[in-house]
Symmetry: C2
Subunit: 245 residues, 2 copies
Amino acid sequence: MSERAWNNNINCQNCSISQLCLPYTLDNLSLDKLDDIIERKRPYRKGEQLFQAGQPLKALYAVRSGSFKSFTVSNDGDAQITAFHLPGDLIGFDSIHSPTYTSFAESLETSMVCEIPFQSLEKLSDQLPLLRRQVMRLMSSEISADKQMLSLLNNKNAEQRLATFLLDFSERFKSRGLSSKEFRLSMTRAEVGNFLGLTVETVSRLLSKLHKSGVIQVDGKFILLQQIDALQQLAGVQLRSCLTP
Amino acid sequence: MSERAWNNNINCQNCSISQLCLPYTLDNLSLDKLDDIIERKRPYRKGEQLFQAGQPLKALYAVRSGSFKSFTVSNDGDAQITAFHLPGDLIGFDSIHSPTYTSFAESLETSMVCEIPFQSLEKLSDQLPLLRRQVMRLMSSEISADKQMLSLLNNKNAEQRLATFLLDFSERFKSRGLSSKEFRLSMTRAEVGNFLGLTVETVSRLLSKLHKSGVIQVDGKFILLQQIDALQQLAGVQLRSCLTP
DNA sequence: CGTCGAGTTGAAACTCATCAAAGTTCGTGG
DNA sequence: CCACGAACTTTGATGAGTTTCAACTCGACG
């Protein structure tokens, strides 16, 4: 199938998730220019990699559909998942300080991406202050999210971590116009555990426990949040009013 | 004392740590422009805050001397230190996606900073591609460092975390032209523990253990790394050659 | 001189990892 | 389309590592 076929009717101007992505706040002229530098590739099958650590930094990627994981591999060989990416998310910000990628990105299911050649993006950013600011906003958001993650790992126990994880995905699906109560987790239990600093067994046990207690319903990769408020309690969320006397 | 007094002979052009900071790669003209927007304030005393979460985002800060901690406060009220900042480090990247600061920054000892008004920096970045790229490089480095931190917390035990922490500071002091073997940690044991996801007691016990084993010498806040290679072993560092056959 | 915060050390408790084993789903080739 | 093997998931028993609780020391400071 020709490359052209994938491009039909796909552009930033009509993209349903552009408000989460680079186009946000761009005027029409800027949008056209951005659209011009973006390459839309064939779908990636589950397990295919966008890039590997050490390869020359060629492009950033925006998820169009499906999902990806980013991960690093430490000197001693074990992998650490550093993020899960949903449509609208940008992949590669952790590498742009380096001539080569500093992490791996791999598809978790059949997925499509927009490839944004890094050189072109830099040049275009020189011309379009709005684009530049959106890039910085997105990078700053990623830093913020990472700090939150540090706090999660340092201060919360296994159950709180998993509850927070589920609520995070709930929010992210919601902001993409999908159900916040019912969704499919494209990653394995092992990947959830790796991300949260827990073992597969602990993740599995806790999902079973939450299921039995009626807070959520679990059917393989499908999750149904039945009592979101209870889940928020478990996640360690407390009302501000409890603290300010 | 007049504000002017602090400014004497302090500028980006002659700053000893400019290669770690924003000026890196800037030409002389750009450097002058950057220097123009920077405000240099009186020293901050230990415990004074640069900003608090919720305050309007006014400026980024570059550490000139001394040290700071950044921290967030979760809904349930406990603080999480997200970074320690040494001279040359920039503070505030986690907030520029927001109209207000998303974290706190507090001096750990008598310290000086360069205040970089955010509006001015944005305007100047529009004119100076080199500056813009350095900002992005620094933000990307911070993302990278945060990902490494995730990996540390998820995969390493208490001893490996502390060893890694000490080696990290060793490297950072070294790149600032200071001794990599002998330095003073300006934060308390509790702050080290908070950052590493450990309790004060664990940090104290491990420092004692490392001291007794002769790997390091501890005298209050002063640390002397006696066997850096042994410390690297404890940190879990292995040679690449062990993995690539 | 007494108090207060920081640091150290010990003993007990608890959470989660580890090891083991069985059950289930997925994907691929016949 | 089905069957087979591999990958993934679940559940149980045990133990290691870290937290928690408690007591004590030390130095700073009014």
